[in-house]
Symmetry: C2
Subunit: 182 residues, 2 copies
């Protein structure tokens, strides 16, 4: 689990990257930046920083921050009740991000799979996104993503977000107990 | 109707304001910036510039650009079939915007109602938004908005956008014939 100190350092780093991208947050939003370490205890390698602007039963919008070469691990958004599963549009705002989805595998990946977790990465269709480029991920589709050398800021536009139903390929991952902790 | 020259000038001005806000567009997106003059032939006074990133049957995301003191005229998003009407979250990214919705009226407005159109503005509950501030407008609720002295860039996160069903208070307004013209 992240310590309060680790949480605050990560929040400050994420806030700095958002400011570099000229994305303005309120002081309250800065204090509430979500740091997800997915329970693996290797935040710099496997993790994600999030600001949720709005999440209603109709739509959701977030900013995602990735530190240099930080990876959001492979997962999918399954159907929940009448919902066919979360659909997401990723728009790169700053830096560079490699996104991997189901489909023809790239032979030489741009990203580096986190050491020790190779078994839990299974989809390798690569999409490289630079600022002003975007990609929409269909519901119930495995995906993972990693920033380039400078990190990345990505806007996520989506249907309703229900993180507690996300299915991760890595059985060691716990998404929810690691939220807003510290 | 806007001439091709007027359209291109407005597109260039909107692209410049987005660049000032450090919002990157592809060349294709720059060429497709939507200029809405609402059929009134007074774009600088009454109009809106839009970039639609994504509009699916589940969610929608746009950037809205307003020139200095430009006004998006009063309208609402009514129920359409099983849809209770478009719900919108406006997040100011750059500049300043005054948003007016149904509710207690502000006595002294920050915005100036476009001259000659006073009869078509009926809601005056004022919300002033600066960068990093946002407001969510419920479905089927009258609203209008105007930028401050420098203009404004506003991100709109919403449910599905079906502009053709929008109801404007001003009967002279035509929303759709004015799209992508030129």
């Amino acid at each position: 689990m992240l310590t309060k100190g680790q949480l605050q350092i990560a929040q400050r780093q994420a806030a700095h990257m958002l400011a570099q991208a000229q994305i303005v947050l309120s002081l309250e939003e800065q204090a509430q930046i979500e740091i997800a370490d997915f329970g693996l205890g290797e935040l710099e390698l496997t993790g994600l920083e999030l600001v949720t602007y709005i999440n209603t039963d109709r739509y959701c919008a977030k900013e995602l921050v990735l530190f240099p070469h930080q990876t959001c691990p492979e997962h999918k958004h399954p159907p929940v009740g009448e919902d066919v599963g979360k659909m997401e549009t990723f728009r790169c705002r700053w830096g560079k991000v490699w996104l991997y989805v189901e489909g023809d595998a790239q032979k030489q990946l741009g990203a580096r799979i986190p050491a020790g977790s190779e078994a839990y990465y299974t989809v390798f269709h690569e999409i490289e996104l630079h600022p002003g480029e975007q990609y929409t991920i269909p519901p119930n589709t495995l995906h993972w993503f990693q920033a380039g050398d400078t990190g990345a800021v990505v806007s996520e536009f989506s249907s309703t977000s229900r993180d507690e139903f996300d299915i991760f390929t890595d059985p060691r991952i716990e998404r929810i107990p690691r939220r807003f902790e510290g």
